[in-house]
Symmetry: C2
Subunit: 284 residues, 2 copies
């Protein structure tokens, strides 16, 4: 039924699959870490795939990138120093740099190949890469953060692939302990935490790991993301001596920059989890 | 890549497709109106497909059914008389009957075959069909509502397939005019209005049709729905001499029944549309 003009990602653990119709493959590279592919789709613009898993499309990445950047940055009293681990496509970086409070962003992605491919095929996401406030490093973020000076970062955004392969270490208590140490008082870490429908246990496990690492205030956010399994996604944040719920309520609803998906009211809406999920998270 | 053990629905107009892995087909019937198929899936329970389009799965239908029923019913001061047009799987009916205010529900679905199949394969959705407050009719809802006494219904829920084939007439100004006439003062009509990402113009057109039919207060709601195109769906409501936004704010957050997805806070969150969509709807 779906011929070779389609790219299909099968989600084995949920017996579901998502496909996009393609005009052709624009790019393929096996780096030292992973296989990067870029497709030209008929209706979703460019599509980046890593090791067979959809990373982003031109059409709907704005949702994910805005939700990874703005809730955490706006909840922080004054986010000056930001660290992005992963995020090689630079879409999150671009959103972070929209914040005037931000004085410096360091992005640490293990694979330079992702950023070089994004510069060619997703130039709109890389438009802020030359911002003097940005430093792009290509290094192992898990090792890198261990050497980060204590209390030297305001927000850490972990914009990674799912917890398999090289990203696995980004979902552990040890990693979140290193984040906790590196964060200033009032600092926030946020990480993508999977589908609320298909993999709610990923959210449970991430919250357990964050809690064990010292984060007392936890907040998960849910939002649509068409190209990811189930079309519904989440991010989970941990606050270091900051109450994330109270912080969200004190955000001014006047933003100093344009957004397509994010709004302060939508931020509050994203914090409301359905009762079945609330129950699961509270019990674990 | 996807062999015959998968059911795939292709969304031509967005160049995307969604697939579920199946164990087998349990049922197939060509009725006078449409082809009904029921599959047994590996991870989503039973799957109902009409004319090749996914209607619902056991696993995630609770989201759609709760969002079609509760926001409208709770926004209405006292929803006593409810009309469901379509809704043959009876999932919406079951949610409606959870409301103690409801004295009577009439469900008018054109195709008895859908309800008979649901009774066998989705018995959990049909558990309230024998409620003495429920009347199930198998008739053409578009014609039926023309003969409904003026000001005799509090809430009309249009739980239909997409605007193609027999359901097309459920998306017109003429139909919404008939709904307006049948509604009591303070009454509400709600109808599914497609994907906010892929078909926002369906929302625009529905709102235009509702407005032209006399509805002054319009409110769209967005929510996840894994098995529908993009995994993100919407419903749009029109109020007859009721402000839907104010009505939502006056709902008590103490519900008298259990829900899996719906909460009053989530209802408010579902009313927040992303800026790109807000802009599109405001301009049209």
């Amino acid at each position: 039924m779906l011929n070779t003009n389609w790219f299909t990602e099968i989600f084995e653990q949920s017996g579901s699959a998502f496909s996009l119709q393609i005009k052709g493959k624009l790019f393929e590279q096996q780096t030292a870490y992973q296989k990067i592919e870029i497709f030209d789709t008929t209706h979703f613009g460019k599509l980046m795939v890593i090791d067979g898993c959809v990373m982003l499309s031109s059409r709907d990445n704005f949702i994910y990138h805005e939700m990874m950047a703005h809730p955490a940055l706006l909840s922080c009293t004054a986010a000056k120093e930001v660290l992005i681990i992963g995020g090689g496509d630079c879409g999150t970086l671009k959103e972070v740099l929209k914040h005037h409070t931000v004085e410096h962003v360091t992005q640490v992605d293990i694979d330079e190949g992702v950023t070089r491919a994004a510069e060619i095929y997703f130039p709109e996401l890389c438009s802020a890469n030359t911002d003097p406030r940005a430093t792009l490093l290509f290094d192992d973020g898990i090792a890198w953060i261990k050497n980060k000076a204590p209390e030297s970062v305001d927000v850490i955004i972990v914009d990674s692939t799912d917890p398999v392969g090289p990203a696995q270490g980004l979902f552990t208590q040890e990693f979140f302990s290193d984040c906790y140490k590196a964060l200033n008082q009032g600092g926030i870490v946020i990480q993508q935490s999977g589908s609320p429908l298909l993999t709610p246990n990923e959210m449970v496990e991430m919250r357990q790991a964050m809690r064990a690492a010292g984060f007392v205030s936890l907040q998960s956010y849910q939002f649509p993301q068409c190209v990811y399994p189930s079309g519904w996604w989440s991010a989970t944040a941990g606050g270091k001596n900051i109450n994330l719920s109270e912080a969200a309520n004190s955000i001014s609803d006047k933003l100093s920059f344009d957004t397509q998906f994010y709004s302060v009211a939508g931020h509050h809406g994203a914090m409301v989890l359905p009762p079945y999920l609330e129950k699961l998270l509270n019990e674990n």
